[in-house]
């Protein structure tokens, strides 16, 4: 069971990575308008290449 002493910190590292990813996503504006992506399918314009 001593492997637990390794696994717990590993879990915490993964948690930190998840939190970092969340903060990055929010800060880069990906959650600012969550309906726009769905709506954009209906627009006539070509997406920017």
């Amino acid at each position: 069971m001593n492997i637990v002493f390794l696994l717990i910190p590993l879990g915490l590292v993964l948690l930190a990575a998840a939190i970092w990813a969340l903060f990055w996503a929010v800060n880069s504006g990906q959650y600012d308008d969550i309906e726009e992506a769905g709506r954009s399918v209906l627009e006539q314009d070509e997406p920017p290449r």
Partner: protein, 742 residues
Amino acid sequence: MSGAQAHAIWSGAETAHAVFSVEGMRCASCSRAVSLAIGQLPGVSRVSVNVATQRAVVDWDPRQVDLPRILAAVTAAGFRAAPLAGEAASGTRRLERRLALKRIGLAGLGMMQTMMFVYCLYAGGSHGIDPHIAQYLKVAGMLVATPVLLYSGAPFLRGAWSDLRRRTLGMDVPVALALVLAYGASVVNTLRGTGEIYFDSVTMFIFFLLAGRFIEMTVRQRNMSATEALAHSLPAAVTRLKDDGSTERIPPERVAAGDRLSIPRGAVIPVDVELAEPEARVSESLLTGESVPIVKACGATVLGGSVNIGQPIKVRALRGVGDSMLAHIVQLLERTQAERPRMARAADRVAAWFVFVTVALALGSAGLWWMISPARAVSAALAVLVVTCPCALSLATPAAFAAATARLAKLGLLVTRPDALERLAAVSAVVLDKTGTVTAGVPAVRVTRIQGDLSRAEVLQIAAALERVCDHPIATAFRPYETPERVAVDVREFAGRGVEGRVNGRLWRLGTADFVAELCGERPVESGGVLLGGTAGLVAVFAISEGLRPAAANAVRELRELGLEVIMASGDDRSVVRGVGAELGIAEAYGRLSPAEKLALVREREAAGSRVLMVGDGINDGPVLAAASVSCALAEGSAIAQSAADLLLLNESLTTLAAAIRAARQMRGVIRQNLTWSFFYNLAAVPLAAAGLIAPWVAAIGMSMSSLLVVLNSARLARPRATAATPSATPLQPSLVARVGP
């Protein structure tokens, strides 16, 4: 606050006026604190703070105090002042939302992680666990819970701190108390190596509470963007022509009566002006919602807020920006909105009492246990605090509201104020404005009189030929009668009076009575209407009226079936309004009402006990919308009406209103169920918790289950229910018809 728009700040020599948003106010005591802080400054003549709209309205004397000092007073009281609208405001809102998302995300992830660790400890409790590993898990739990408490839980801690500093009991106090107690006890027990830990309770608590607040915040932010449309209307600078011919750029606030201004194409006219050019084309869509351009003649008054869509024009200001009609109506709106929070005041009183009872119970049970067996004091107090957490209570309304809002959004009705739906459920009378809400905006022609030897069809064709080249709104009414056999040549338009031209060799004039009388020498007996006359005499009189919206009659019938009185109150001609009323089946139809009279009608009904739903779209309806219990504006209506209204109808169909009232009543039922459940749950659980029969983690799970139940119950509202044979809203939008669920 540079960049705050002109409607939000006016400054004269003796009084200045500003409207800005105040962040961080959660209850009546907060708004009182802000009012006091601002009111204490010398020179401030009026302060009005509204917690529901998070706005403050301040009038002051610029000689004694200035805006930066007022804002500093707000900050010193512990709140943040932010611009009401414009670039800076949307930036603030974006940051607020991002911060909320980060906090919720961290709390959610932390909650899941601590629950994993704690579960091992619970399992270990029954099956045995290596004490070193148990300790390890506790420390790991502490590592996760600490940032959650300090970052995600910060709003509660700070809120409770400022509440206590002001010696009031807000909702944040018991929450913060529970969090600090739970966290503190857990840390102590972790360091000691024995005893219960409650890190999972801490994180779960924070997560659920943040989720509820996030829902409230998104609704509030959606409301603010309606006001933005209004704020963006006035320009940042306007060109003034000086006597020597040179020009200077000045802010609209500095325009004085008599100033000559130059308005370029596409620009908004900032103040009420008199036209100094022979002709101009303007659009009054901001004010009336009518996007069809209007031709103004030399010397005519053009209202501030109109857009110049023709050539650049020179105008003379009639009044300063503070006195323009636009400004007056906006001021009226702000004033009426600031005086509105009926629900909020009642809710705050209940909350303060509730908090007091909660804290007293917790301390009481802790005290009792301390005398009997101190070790259980903490867990008992915690259990009480957790179990009485207003989680289910605070989620009951927002969850139901969010679900109902989503359902209405699918039907094409946007809800912009949080308590609008609750008020909508209690509505007992509907007041409709005739123009715009019931009529379709496409004018229709009726021939009211014909003299001479021409037939009805011929008369319409001649008029259509004359109007063919015009952009006048009336011209569109004649379009259906155009025919290639009759073509008008030598057509000349006389702004504001009519059009003249030759059709098949004969000279005709179509327009006002005076204009046509010049040519034909005759005047009709009745006044009003559009006349057609030739050199031989008057030939026809037309009445231009607006056609009714599709399904308007159905909508009125459905509203009556729901038990509502339907009233029509319009500024249009009495006979026209009565006619429309008869067609729609409305018994009470009043015409020729001024905006003040409409306001009086609404106020009189409200005073008599009805709850009025006002449906309107023009600028004149702005203050009336704000005075009714619930107001609904149309999406094609003016921006002012939209920012005053609680509801925004996106499609043309009034049947959506009937569906909305049904949804609001269902929502009210669900909220009652939710509140009843949370109340009885608390009633049953508190004695058990105080008696120490519930461990805090059980209390936390119970609280979460209770919240989940409330949320699931509210989710039932999101699916549009089937109603017996609902007719199609409009032929173009069959998908908006409520469908039977699976």
